[in-house]
Structure formats: structure tokens, C-alpha cells
């Protein structure tokens, strides 16, 4: 009965098109936002910010970008890491070429570079499908990482080939760079992630989202109801890569503080893909749930033996960790192939009926 939807009637299409037609959903979101904006900042330690909260948000954003491409438009991509790299390097160049540029502007602009590169590598999707396309996106992955290494202009000819985030202030507060406080960075990331998520929800439920989903569910039929496949796929690559690029910029500027080309290599792509799939393809919420599971879980698992006082070597813990993640992925795929988001949907449906069984 906690989740009763009965009695909530919609009297206009506008109301039916509201973000949360069900009141309880809105309340729940409110609670989550209070948690994110008030409770966590009050309670979290610096370690929690840096190892849990900030990465969860950034990874969720990257997964959201990928999800638009894979979950909504049905184009499997294994090149997410490289597109994050494009965003990060673009932001780095913008900041170092125009030191006066506001960091928000720089991050927003860097997304466009990644979007452009993404759309370029999305071109093959017009002819190639399925796994062939997935492998084609690996071409982007390997080529771009190679480029990040070889094109020394990108990292301002630094000897190590790494880029470093300088101290950047906004309104007198240091938001990026070594001097930035974790809590500031957390709020900064949270704000951007919230805004992008809001936009993403709107895009995915409107005309463009329908177009993508149609292409995903049956591209031939989509073409035959008048959807321009090329437009639909390329916008998906564009929007997806934009978000991924922004997440890449945040990844380096608001979290890592420095980066080398290898950071954007294939494990990063897979990590984001895991998040999107475990969270649930074609769901916005899923990205957050997936990120919590994939990013936070290893951190917690590695802390468990120490808490229990088990004398396990750190390497063994790490091996076990890898094994557990592997098993978890398989288990989740078996139990709920549609991801955590579907899990939540089932729970929500149960809650609507609760306490009655049917």
C-alpha cells in the first residue's frame, strides 16, 4: 500500500507527460536527492568521496552515455573508454590553451569533440551490425588510445605523456586540481550529472528517444515507418559520445587529477559496459544502480577481509575480487538479464500491490 497508484488520475496529456506520473516516484526521487545533496556530504569521509561517491557518479554518467547508444539505439559499442579519453584530452587542451575559460564551459565544449569523433566512428554502423559493429568500435578504441600516446601536442609535449589537471577555480573556489576539496568536487560532479540526466530523460522519452528505440527494436520496420536510419544512428552516436565525453572530462578533471593514454584503454570500456548491462540496458536509473554495484562493490569487498580480521594477502583479496565480480556478472545475467533496473521495476510492482499478493 506504500506504493499505491490508485486514485492518481491524469486529467491532461501534459500531466500524463510529467516526469513522474506516479507521486511516490517523485517522493522517492526527492529522498534520493536529499541523500545525495545533504546527507552524504555531511557524513562521508574523504575516502568515501574519492573512492565511492565521485566515481560512482562519473561512471554512472559514462554508462548513461553508453546506454543511450546501446540500450536505446541498440548499437553495441566497445569504445567508450576511448571516447571518454577524447573528452578528457579535449578539455585539457581547452583549459591549457584558454586558461581563462570557465571549467563548466570547457567541459561542455569538450563533449562536442567527443561527439564528433563518436559520430565519425559511428559511420560504419550504417552498414555494419551486431558484433561486427562492436569490433568496429574497438577500432576506435585502439586507434584513439594510440593517438593519445603518439600525438604529443595533445599532452602539451610533457615528457611522461601524461596530462595533469592544474588548479582551477570558479567563483573563488578551487574546483579542480590537487588543491580542490573532495566535497567541492563532489557537488560539482553531482550538479553536472543531475543536469545531464535530466536532459537524457527528456530526450529518451520524446521523439528522438522513440526513434532510437524503434531502430533498436527493429531497424527495418523503423525505416519503413519513415525513420531515417542514418540520422537516428548518427544522432545516437553523437548524443551518446557527447555524454561519454563529458564524463571523460569529469573523470580526469574532477576525480583523477591526471591521466595517461592507457587509462582510457579497453578495461575502462568494459567497465562502463558492465555498468550499463548490469544496471539494465534501456534504463536511466539502471546506470546508477550498475555503477553502485560495479564501482562500489570492489571497494567494499576489499575492505571485508580486513574488517573480519582475516589474514588474507592484499593480492589474494584482489584475485578473489576479480573472481567474485566475474561470478556476480554471470549470476546477475542468469537471474535477471535485464539488469538491476528491471529488478527495481519488479519490486516496485510488488510494492504497488503490497500487502496483497496479486
Amino acid at each position: 500500500m506504500l506504493y499505491r497508484t490508485a486514485g492518481q488520475f491524469k486529467t491532461s496529456y501534459a500531466a500524463d507527460h510529467a516526469l513522474f506520473p506516479v507521486r511516490q516516484d517523485a517522493i522517492l526521487l526527492g529522498v534520493v536527492l536529499i541523500l545525495a545533496f545533504v546527507v552524504f556530504p555531511l557524513t562521508a569521509s574523504e575516502f568515501a568521496f574519492r573512492a565511492l561517491l565521485i566515481p560512482v557518479l562519473i561512471y554512472a554518467l559514462a554508462a548513461l552515455g553508453l546506454n543511450i547508444l546501446t540500450g536505446y539505439a541498440g548499437q553495441l559499442s566497445l569504445g567508450t573508454g576511448a571516447f571518454m579519453g577524447v573528452g578528457a584530452y579535449a578539455c585539457y587542451k581547452l583549459i591549457t590553451l584558454f586558461p581563462e575559460m570557465n571549467i563548466v564551459v570547457a567541459i561542455a565544449l569538450s563533449g562536442f569533440f567527443s561527439a564528433g569523433v563518436g559520430a565519425l566512428f559511428g559511420l560504419p554502423s550504417l552498414r555494419i551490425k551486431g558484433f561486427y559493429l562492436a569490433i568496429a568500435t574497438l577500432a576506435a578504441q585502439f586507434f584513439l588510445v594510440w593517438l593519445f600516446q603518439k600525438w604529443d601536442w595533445l599532452y602539451n609535449y610533457s615528457a611522461s605523456g601524461a596530462i595533469h589537471v592544474p588548479n582551477i577555480s570558479m567563483f573563488g573556489i578551487t574546483v579542480a586540481g590537487p588543491r580542490a576539496a573532495a566535497i567541492t568536487q563532489y557537488y560539482f560532479v553531482l550538479a553536472i550529472v543531475c543536469v545531464v540526466t535530466f536532459f537524457a530523460i527528456n530526450i529518451t522519452r520524446g521523439r528522438i528517444g522513440r526513434m532510437w528505440k524503434a531502430v533498436r527494436d527493429m531497424d527495418i520496420a523503423a525505416e519503413l515507418v519513415g525513420i531515417n536510419l542514418m540520422r537516428a544512428k548518427l544522432t545516437a552516436f553523437f548524443v551518446s559520445s557527447y555524454i561519454v565525453g563529458v564524463s571523460g572530462a569529469l573523470f580526469v578533471f574532477l576525480w583523477r587529477g591526471a591521466a595517461e593514454a592507457n587509462l582510457f584503454d579497453i578495461p575502462l570500456s568494459f567497465r562502463v559496459l558492465f555498468i550499463a548491462i548490469i544496471g539494465g540496458l534501456g534504463s536511466i536509473l539502471g546506470n546508477y544502480l550498475g555503477a553502485i554495484l560495479i564501482v562500489a562493490l570492489p571497494v567494499i569487498i576489499s575492505a571485508v577481509p580486513a574488517m573480519l580480521g582475516l589474514p588474507l594477502a592484499s593480492a589474494t583479496v584482489e584475485h578473489l575480487n576479480v573472481m567474485i565480480i566475474g561470478v556476480l556478472i554471470i549470476t546477475f545475467l542468469i537471474v535477471e538479464p535485464h539488469g538491476l533496473a528491471r529488478f527495481w521495476a519488479v519490486i516496485r510492482e510488488k510494492l504497488i500491490l503490497w500487502p496483497f499478493p496479486h
Binding site: 546501446t70 553495441l76 560504419p124 552498414r127 555494419i128 551490425k129 551486431g130 558484433f131 561486427y132 562492436a134 569490433i135 568496429a136 574497438l138 577500432a139 585502439f142 586507434f143 588510445v145 594510440w146 600516446q149 603518439k150 527495418i220 520496420a221 519503413l224 579497453i266 568494459f270 559496459l273 558492465f274 548491462i277 540496458l281 593480492a315 589474494t316 584475485h319 578473489l320 575480487n321 576479480v322 573472481m323 567474485i324 565480480i325 566475474g326 561470478v327 556476480l328 556478472i329 554471470i330 545475467l333 542468469i334 538479464p337
Partner: protein, 319 residues
Amino acid sequence: MDFLNAIFVQPFADMAAAPDFLLQVVWEGLVGGVLYALIALGFVLIYKSSRIFNFAQGIMVVFAALTLVGLTEKGVPALLALPLTLLVMLVLAVTIERAVLRPLVNQPDIILFMATIGITLFLIGFGEIIFGGENKVMITRELMIPTDSITLDLFGGFVSIEQKDLTSVIGAVLLVAALLLFLNRTKTGRAIRALGDDHQAALSVGISLSTIWVVVWFIAGVIALATGIAWGARAGVSFALEVIAYKALPVLMLGGLESVMGAIIGGLAIGILEKLFEVYWGQPLMGGNTEAWFAYVVALIVLLFRPQGLFGERIIERV
């Protein structure tokens, strides 16, 4: 002009000037290509029979090689370790069939693909716990693989051919021949091909999926072991071997996910071409390491013109 010269003229002049070196480059590429082809073959077999894009093929190479070496390190004689390793690969195949494939039957491709990444992670962790992560020496001598090298004096220079490379090439050829014989001449082989052609029909005539899957994953395991021995003899056995699996993926694009011949020819072609490109164009012009992406870009370009790959059949879409 200099630029064009460096691209279109100089490399060929270099090739002509040092034919022994060119031969050496081609040979190196060929040896690499044979291994790519083997890995691609493992992918193809599994894909054909179960529509699973088996990402774990790379880690299976490592796991097989590690098991072999690990067993010898624990004091098992090499000639006993080899069948034992095969047994381990069989157990692995059965386990994967029971624990992963069977519960996930009929799921979308991407789910199965993710599951094989899950298997990859599991095997990485498991392998490291059991065998440790350090670089190990392939038991080349114990397996009676010759390790000397043959130097051929040619064109006023020399071509150096490692006997173990030669052995792995010959071994690979024999393995492929045996495999083709198995696929074409035996009941199980016929069933595997049938399954690749038409899943439903194969089920309908009573071909047992679980049996075939175990067989196919086991064969993939055998191929992995062969690859592991060959590659391990070149560069030692460690988890870094896993990355060669990435090299097999463009081979698959080029050859088609379902074509055995495609995997072999694609593998050889990519092995040789990437080496030539790296040595004559990549290193002088682009700062090297082009092998990281060359195969992908070639495959991508080919696919743009032939979306079904070099050996795939034309796809006719129906509604």
C-alpha cells in the same frame, strides 16, 4: 612530395634493397598470423555452434598454458602434464556448459557475450590464485620442441627462422587439418556444422546441444592450449598473453564470424600485413606501435565495402 615519397616509394625501395629483411618480416608476420588464425578459429567454432561471441578465448589460452606449466612446476612430468591439462580443459568446458551456457540458453547475444567476459574475469582471478601471476617459462624442451634457430643465407643477408616457430606453424597446420577432418568426417563434426547452419533444425533432428557445446568448448580449449604453447615458447607464459585475443577480433571481422577458412586466411593476411605496415610505414612515419590498431582499421575498411566480411555470404534482409 617528400611525404608522398615516404609513403609510396621509399618503403618499396627499402623492400627491394634488402630482400632478406623483407623475407624475415614476412616470416615474423606469418608466425604471428598463424597464432591469430588459431585463436580466431576457437572463436569461430564456438560462434558457429552456439552463437556465442566467446570473449574468454584469450584467457583460455593463458589458462591452458599456465596449467601446463604450473603442473610441471609442481613436479608432474611434462608428458603427463599435457594430457592432464587437456583434462582440465575438458572439465572447464563441462563446467562452463553447466554453469553458464545452460542457464543462459536463448538469451540475447549481448548477454551471452557479457557472460563470457564474466568467465574471463573469473578465470583471471582463479588462475592467479592457483598459479600466481609471474611470468613463467614454457616447458619447450620437455615437450621436445626444438629451440635452435636456422639461419638461411639469402640475398647477401640472412633470414633467421626459429625452430620453435617452425614447429608451431607445422603444429598449427596439423591441428587445422585434424580439425577439418573431424568436422567433415565424423558424426559429431557434422552435427557441429549442422548446428552452425540452422540451430532450430539441428535441435529438431535430435542433436544434443549440451553434448555439442561441451565438445566445441573443449576443442576451443585444445586450440587454446596449442596457441598457448606456441606463443608461450616465444615470450613466456603470463597473463599478458591475454591481449593477443584482441588481435583475433579483426581477423573475425575480416573472415566472418562463421567461416573456418575465413579465420585461417584472415589470420595469416592480418599477421603479415600488420608486420609489413609496421616495419615499412608505421615505424618510419608514425612513431611505431601501429600494430595496436592496424588490423582493426583494415577490417573496418573491408567491412565498409563488404559488410558480410571477406568470406561471409551476402545478407538478404526480409520483413
